[in-house]
Amino acid sequence: MTQGEVRKLLGGYATNALSAEERRILFQAALEDQELFNALENEDALRELLADPVSREQVRRELARPIEAKRSGFRFRRWVLAVALPAAGAVILIAVMDRANAPRLIAPPVQIASRQLGPQAKERVEAKSLDRLPPAAPVAAPRLAAPPASAPAAGFGSTRATAARLRLGGATRIPDTIRQQFASGFDLNAPLYQGPLVRYSLVRSGPAGDRISVQVTSAMAGYLALYEVDAAGNLKRIYPASDPASPVAAGLTVEIPDSPIKMAATSQRLRLVVVPANSPAVVDRLGGSAVNKEAPLFQAPATPLVVDIPLAPN
């Protein structure tokens, strides 16, 4: 695909002007070209905004507004800057000084989620911290991988992120490129990742210890899915339930699936797949990356990190 063709297809992507075939070609090219993949991820947020009828209508109205009107608006703004703004500033200053000694109102923390095991529940945690870091405090897996209001996850720095920070597009949006990558499936014999970027703990619960969930911490913002692998090597996705993958913030420990599940007798292992988000815009929306610049641990971020979790008898 030539540079011109790529530009053409990218140009039509955000405004939904591509045919199904053109989209297919673009996605295929993106899977083979990291730069194009990143560009496509960046375009995705804009595409989603423009796909929203309300946004589209507002954009149309803004574009229909003549530039001349904007200029007269600027003259008005100059008047505002010269006269009204200083006056308003003075009023605010007086108000602030007046309230300097007033008691401060602090919003109560918002509870993101909680989980309580029954009194008879037997819980055995098989912690496997791939990087030997202490496990981070988990939150139950929300559709929106939102951090608790306070403490950052251990080992990965701040988790201030996700929900309120997912600004450019919708919070739970999965880019089409990522969707397609997960939908295409991952090779059963794919090389397994054993580095420090993905940590997990297998959590057993229930009276017989046969209910299972997994606490996962990804050092990178990205997308994850959890599969069950049976003796025949068949993969069945167990998280998320509906989407092919779920967004995950960097350094945030999530517990998936939402409720512990009972594993089939034929299940041999679980497979965790994390696809790091690579474009700066997407990483920002997902709460930034905990991978610091001094240690570029991961060189090809669109490559999925595949981690197998053996299901030893409880």
């Binding site: 011109g4 140009g11 947020a45 507002q58 574009l63 309120a164 920070r165 600004r167």
Partner: protein, 87 residues
């Protein structure tokens, strides 16, 4: 988190994103605004070339590419400013 809260949060984010988009577009030049308007009307690049009178289709591709870059940069800057304001 209850679903209602997620919905409210998502709606707030969408509103903010929309406001940033409109503000970013309002700062763009006439040519970029024209191209975006034509794209939203569903015009092809060839049709855009004819309407704006560009000498070649590659000129349109280039303009479109630069305009999208400009728009994305403006959006990113606004997002960054909003985040710094939140801190």
């Amino acid at each position: 988190m209850p679903d209602g809260r997620i919905d409210a949060l998502t709606a707030l984010e969408q509103t903010e994103a929309r406001e940033r988009l409109i503000a970013a577009i309002s700062e763009m030049g006439e040519r970029c605004r024209k191209l975006l308007a034509l794209k939203l009307e569903g015009k092809s690049f060839a049709e855009m070339q004819a309407i704006v009178g560009a000498s070649s289709i590659n000129t349109i591709y280039t303009w479109d590419f630069r305009c999208r870059q400009e728009l994305m940069d403006r959006l990113r800057n606004r997002e960054r400013s909003a985040r710094e304001t939140d801190r």
